[in-house]
């Protein structure tokens, strides 16, 4: 992938020289080409972003006009036990997700790289990812049903007590995380697999000649060279997990009690069920800030934009 970008920029430089000679700018025609996308960008991305920030400083119940109330929403959020609960629940979900999904996907990617490169297998692993979250949620709602779900049948067959996956406070979030892991495992594995394929084989040959053990090879070569892809995968996973909504909305609706009321579901409830758009927007700003921070820290920490291959 890095190669692709590098080639791209090289082409860009070389091909632009003849045009530059003519000393002609394509500004007018460029504006024509970019106009529709620009409208979409300004109306549905840029202005809403600014408006969302503005609304977070107002009290706004959809009827009537927003009234400026300064930082009152944020002060209320700081004292809102439901917000702190939503944050904790979301963090738990994200944590289970990253650990489980990354570990499983890395294992799968290594397996694919070493033994099974077939497109058929990769396709099979990708299947859950192509399904809607709603479908994954309904499917597992059925498989994990307390009364007649197949999973609980097996659990009982092994002599263990049945698990109320969606109905118990301690299982609600892990269950959502497991469903998400099931849906994304293959996709993440494919990304890592692509990263593994990009590592030149001569690096491994040298390690082989030096008598490195498989574990040493993995730790000293594979992991460092995979780091940019791994960083990207982690960022995508974390940012995606923070925004979990569909699964929760279809299965537990935030329950039992508050056990699975994740941040995004709480925003949805505040804005659309209680029609408190100011408060909802302030919550959304906080989610936005968290995501930006997470991306920033991960980029710094994992030095994601540098590759040891260069």
């Amino acid at each position: 992938m890095t190669t692709l970008t590098r080639n791209a920029s090289r082409t860009e430089h070389s091909v632009h020289r003849p045009l530059k000679r003519r000393g002609q700018s394509d500004l007018k025609i460029a504006l024509l080409f970019i106009a529709p996308a620009m409208i979409g960008f300004i109306v549905f991305y840029l202005v809403p972003t600014l408006r969302g920030i503005y609304l977070s400083f107002t009290e706004y119940s959809i009827l009537g006009d927003p009234t400026w109330i300064g930082t009152a929403n944020y002060e209320a959020i700081a004292k809102d036990p439901l917000f702190w609960n939503a944050l904790a629940v979301t963090a738990q979900y994200v944590l289970i997700n990253i650990v489980l999904q990354t570990a499983l996907a890395l294992g799968l990617a290594l397996l694919m790289h070493r033994v099974a490169k077939s497109t058929l297998i990769r396709g099979a692993l990708l299947l859950p990812y192509l399904m809607a979250n709603v479908i994954a949620a309904l499917l597992w709602f059925w498989l994990l049903d307390y009364q007649i779900g197949i999973v609980n049948y097996f659990i009982e067959a092994f002599g263990l007590p049945k698990v109320a996956f969606f109905g118990s406070e301690e299982w609600a979030i892990p269950t959502q995380a497991l469903i998400n892991t099931w849906r994304h495992m293959g996709y993440t594995a494919l990304l890592l697999f692509a990263g593994l394929q990009a590592i030149p084989s001569h690096v491994y040959e040298v390690a082989n000649l030096d008598g490195a053990s498989p574990w040493q090879t993995f730790r000293k070569i594979t992991m460092p060279l995979l780091r940019p892809v791994l960083a990207l995968v982690l960022i995508v996973t974390v940012i995606g997990s923070f925004q979990v909504f569909d699964t929760v909305a279809v299965t537990t609706m935030g329950g039992p009690v508050n056990a699975s009321r994740v941040l995004q579901f709480y925003i949805y409830q505040k804005a659309f069920t209680e029609s408190d758009f100011g408060y909802g927007s302030a919550l959304a700003v906080i989610l936005f800030v968290i995501l930006a921070l997470v991306a920033f820290i991960q980029m710094k920490f994992l030095k994601g934009n540098e590759s040891d291959l260069d």
Binding site: T5, N7, A8, S9, V15, P18, S25, I29, A30, L31, F33, I34, P36, A37, G40, F41, V43, F44, Y45, P48, T49, R51, G52, L55, G107, L111, R114, V115, A116, I121, G123, L125, L127, P128, L130, A132, N133, I135, L138, L143, G149, W182, G186, Y187, L190, L191, G195, Q197, S201, L232, Q243, D246, V250, A271, G280, S281, A284, F288, L291, A292
Partner: protein, 307 residues
Amino acid sequence: MTTAKVSAPARATARRRTFTWRRGGAWLLVALAVAVSVLPFYWILRTALSTNGALAGNATNLLPADFNLGAFQRVFGLQSPEEAVAQGGSGAQIDFWIYLRNSVLFASITTTGAVFFSAMAAYAFARLRWRGRNLVFSLFLATMMVPPIFTALPNFLLIKNLGLLNTMVGLVLPYIFMTPFAIFFLRQFFLNMSREVEEAAMLDGAKHLRIFFQIILPNAAAPIATLALLTFIGQWNEYFWPLLVGQDESVRVLTVGLGVFKSQSPQGAPDWSGLMAATLVSALPVLILFAIFGKKIVNSIGFSGIK
């Protein structure tokens, strides 16, 4: 794509190896992962072909319990309410065909618009020279960072103020002009296309519009098709925005309809076979696309994910 590249030494080692326990174990793990990914879909089919009454007594039977097409009839509205209730359905009318039509409209309109307009913008970013090009492109890219829910609240208000709630126009508007990802994806391909044909055409006095339609678009048919495929699947599966804007029966899409189908189940046991039949029908278009273009989709993941 990097995925297609298999280095020669690696292939040679693979061929040299014969069966070892370690290799057998590795294959077993792969098989397990495939089973976990695919078998649940068989369970959807098996449940959809069962009757609700028989499901409880045959929890582990691999074949449908009391094989029956009633669940599908229920989904397509071919069953009388009395019959539906007798089989464990809610008896409420569900206009599946309308949801299906809405999903088709929503996904195809947004895909067509977003891919076409994004291609135009990508052309301007990749092949035209103008001041501020890189700045504007970074701004567009930065929007990939904004979480959808953040723009969804103000966008909902905008659509509401325009009086477009519960209309197809309101549903498609935020997606139709562009997606940052589509612009990014196509720009990569346009940057790599050769200038020669284009410059020859230039000398002939051809203008940029002609170059775009007659040279760039036909030559980039493959990446454009891949992008359209991925966009269509993504839009087909979209839930949050249609939930906010398309609650009304007349514009409700399948994902939202499925949630409704579930909540309409009578008190007590849900209509599992009906629900699974509905799930299967909703997933069918994606399953068909995957059956036809599976290889294309799989190979594009390596590229699309690595932004």
